[in-house]
C-alpha cells in the first residue's frame, strides 16, 4: 500500500470528471436500455471518436476548435443515421448498429493508416486518460451538460434524444475515453433496471459515484491505470447494487423473450 499515491490534486479532478459524465449518462443509459439498443451508444461514442481522429489526421490538435467541430459533427451525423436506421428497419436495427460500429472503428484505422503514431491515438481515445482532466476543461463540460440535462428533461424522446446523446457522448469520450463512457452509460442503468424514476436515479447515481471513487482508490492503492480499474469497480458495484433479486433470479431461462 502506497499512501503517497493518494494525491487529491491528482484524484479529485478525475472523480469530478466521473461525476459529470455520470450526471448525463445515467438518464441516457436508462433510455438506451429501455429501448433495447445497447450497441447504439458504443457506435455513437466511436463516431465522435472518429471525428476526433479524422481531424487529427488532417493536422489539427486536441484543443483546437476544429477538432470539437469535427467530433460534434460526426456524432450528429452518426445520430441522424442511427435514428434513420431505427425508423426504417426497426426489426434489424441492432444488427445495423453493429455494422455501423464496426465500420466506424475500421474507418478510424483507415484514417490513421499512414500516421506514424496513429495506433497510440486510437488507443488513447478508447482507453482514455481520466487523470489528465483539468478543472477548466471540467467547467466547460459542466455548463454544456447542464444545458443538455435541461433539454433532456423537457423533451426526452424522438430526434432530440439522439441530438442530446450525440453531444453528451462527444464531450465524454474526449474526457474519459470510449470504454468508460460505455461502462458509465450501461452499468448503473442496468443495476437499477425496472425501478421507478426517483429511486432509480438516486440509486444509479450512488452506484456510479461509488464506482468511480472505489475504482480510483483501487488504482491508487494497487498502482493500476485508473480507467480500466474504474470500469471493473463500476461492474462489481452495479452487480452488488442490483440486489439479491437480480443476482439469484433470472428473467427466464432459455427463451423468456424472443
Amino acid at each position: 500500500m502506497n499512501w503517497g499515491a493518494f494525491d487529491l490534486g491528482v484524484l479529485l479532478p478525475a472523480f469530478a470528471a466521473g461525476l459529470l459524465v455520470l450526471s448525463t449518462h445515467l438518464p441516457l443509459g436508462r433510455q438506451v436500455l429501455a429501448r433495447g439498443i445497447i450497441f447504439r451508444d458504443l457506435a455513437a461514442a466511436q463516431m465522435a471518436g472518429l471525428g476526433v481522429i479524422a481531424a487529427e489526421a488532417l493536422g489539427f490538435h486536441g484543443g483546437d476548435w476544429q477538432v470539437q467541430l469535427a467530433a460534434g459533427a460526426s456524432a450528429l451525423i452518426g445520430a441522424a443515421i442511427l435514428h434513420g436506421l431505427e425508423r426504417c428497419w426497426p426489426q434489424i436495427q441492432e444488427a445495423l448498429i453493429g455494422v455501423a460500429f464496426v465500420l466506424t472503428v475500421t474507418a478510424s484505422l483507415l484514417a490513421v493508416a499512414d500516421h506514424p503514431h496513429g495506433g497510440e491515438q486510437i488507443k488513447a481515445l478508447l482507453a482514455g486518460q481520466i487523470l489528465w482532466v483539468g478543472w477548466r476543461q471540467l467547467a466547460v463540460v459542466a455548463v454544456l451538460y447542464a444545458g443538455l440535462l435541461l433539454v433532456h428533461a423537457l423533451r426526452p424522446a424522438g430526434v432530440v434524444f439522439y441530438l442530446v446523446f450525440a453531444v453528451a457522448v462527444t464531450a465524454s469520450v474526449q474526457l474519459v475515453g470510449v470504454y468508460l463512457v460505455f461502462a458509465t452509460l450501461i452499468l448503473p442503468a442496468l443495476a437499477v433496471r425496472g425501478l421507478d424514476p426517483p429511486t432509480a436515479l438516486v440509486r444509479g447515481y450512488l452506484i456510479g459515484a461509488l464506482g468511480y471513487a472505489v475504482g480510483l482508490a483501487v488504482s491508487a492503492a494497487l498502482d493500476l491505470p485508473s480507467g480500466p480499474a474504474i470500469v471493473w469497480a463500476l461492474a462489481v458495484l452495479a452487480l452488488a447494487g442490483a440486489g439479491r433479486r437480480r443476482l439469484f433470479g433470472c428473467d427466464g431461462w432459455a427463451g423468456g423473450r424472443p
Partner: protein, 104 residues
C-alpha cells in the same frame, strides 16, 4: 521533464537533465501513484521546462503544467513538425527558439 523518453540526443547535446517522464510506458496510461510520485519529485527538484513533441497528445503536458506551474515547450521533434521547421536547419532553429522562449 518530458512526456516520453524521446529526447536523449537533445538532452545530451544541450546538457539538459531529465527529472522524470509523464508516461513511462508508451500506450499504457500512467497510474495515480506514478503521477503523485512525479509531483513529489518535482517539488523536491523543480524542473524548468516540460518538453512535448508537437505530434503528441497535448493533455499530459498541460495537466502537469497546471499542477506544478512549470512551462511547456512544444518542440517540432522532426522536420515538418512545426511551422518554420521545414528542413534540418529550421528544425534546430525552431527547437532552440522554443526552448529559449519557455525558459525565459
Amino acid at each position: 521533464m518530458v512526456h516520453h523518453d524521446q529526447w536523449v540526443y537533445l538532452e545530451d547535446w544541450l546538457g539538459l537533465k531529465r527529472v522524470g517522464e509523464l508516461e513511462p510506458k508508451p500506450g499504457i496510461p500512467p497510474t495515480p501513484g506514478h503521477l503523485a510520485a512525479l509531483k513529489q519529485r518535482l517539488a523536491r527538484e523543480p524542473a524548468r521546462v516540460i518538453l512535448r513533441a508537437a505530434y503528441m497528445d497535448l493533455r499530459p503536458a498541460q495537466w502537469l503544467s497546471e499542477q506544478t506551474g512549470i512551462p511547456v515547450a512544444v518542440l517540432p521533434f522532426t522536420v515538418g513538425g512545426a511551422p518554420g521547421a521545414d528542413d534540418l536547419y529550421g528544425l534546430f532553429d525552431v527547437t532552440l527558439a522554443r526552448l529559449h522562449q519557455a525558459l525565459q
